[in-house]
Symmetry: C3
């Protein structure tokens, strides 16, 4: 007996990234495409989610001067040297980690950018426009970071 | 005959939240984790979506002083007392509700933050980093609000 | 033998939109609802993703004056006539297309708004609040644009 039910497939993994600067855009597109291919789906969703509160996931063009414009935009919206209550260790009473560093600006940047991107997968490939690339955005580096990638869809026959 | 097809599971519910201030971050993480557990998936996606245009869903750290920094950032980007055409009842002709209140600023905040967060679920738990919490952000409260939560994935065996 | 496994369904299509102005909010809600209905799911996710880096997908209210407020907010955050390194053709060395036009501001707007919206579908309909509408946001028009829509869920019986 042949089942006519399309098989659902779910594949999860974590990607580790070592960042090198305080603010940096790391292009994850090739790694995500490889993971989606490994998951063996025909069509479905790929959700790319950072596991940190001072990083973000964005989709835009990989053009180095544009990435500098993005950094300038974020710095204008929440300057690194502005005053953040989160960084006032005389006031803080919760979530205090050893070697806590002032990073209120980085949390603000992350809030504006968002923590995940949901990408469509169809016809055996990630649906991305000509200029679209997927970035982990480091906002308080350098650090070792982890990104969770989940692929959910119909199994390829 | 044993089927080898993993069972897909889809579970939907709405969470009701009564907010208390004009701008407020309400931590929904524990409720979302409980709902995902109830859905009985092994791995999949949890999509948290607000049903209002003057609220948002964000993922960041639950540290009270940081939440005050976030409020200040939003207020700077779109001050409550700035002029919004949406609030000019002499010009408005559509979507007029009884007791309409001036809330152009709150819509602007919601636009910058986003209306949903897609969270990965794997190994029997929500994939969240150490400091990550999921918030409903009230931007025009106090009000009664509703959040839609959908869990989609492979059923646990 | 009757299978008790709910059938997973995945449906993908692209929506083409011809925009008419440099900045424009195009309401896609009716088209997305029709596509979700055609996909024949009972419950699941609908992911709406733009395929361009100078457009965005947002969910908010369709009130013309409010859309003008949104345009003003974006213009304030990244003015069209400010200086963007991406637009300096003396410095640019990568991703140069014929008839490249200055659009650093549009990329910045797209970065702030995001490239996709994940919507919950349950009880046979898209879960949207009373005022929620789904928009493609043109930020560097007029152009012909494409939006990828993926519907993933449990098949309706």
């Amino acid at each position: 007996m042949e089942t006519l039910v399309p098989a659902a497939t779910c594949y999860h993994t974590r990607v580790r990234v070592t960042t090198e600067r305080s603010m940096q855009f790391i292009d994850l597109t090739d790694r995500i495409e490889a993971l989606a291919a490994r998951a063996g789906i025909h069509a479905g969703l790929v959700n790319v989610q950072t596991l940190h509160t001072t990083t973000a996931i964005v989709v835009n063009e990989h053009e180095p001067l544009l990435l500098a414009d993005f950094s300038a935009l974020l710095t204008r919206a929440a300057p690194r040297d502005a005053s953040y209550r989160h960084d006032d260790m005389d006031l803080r009473t919760v979530n205090l980690a050893p070697n806590e560093r002032p990073n209120g600006h980085a949390h603000c940047h992350a809030l504006l950018l968002g923590s995940s991107a949901s990408l469509n997968f169809a016809d055996g490939r990630l649906q991305l426009g000509r200029w679209q690339r997927v970035f982990l955005v480091e906002l308080d580096g350098p650090r070792v970071r982890e990104v969770s990638v989940l692929v959910l869809g119909e199994a390829a026959r």
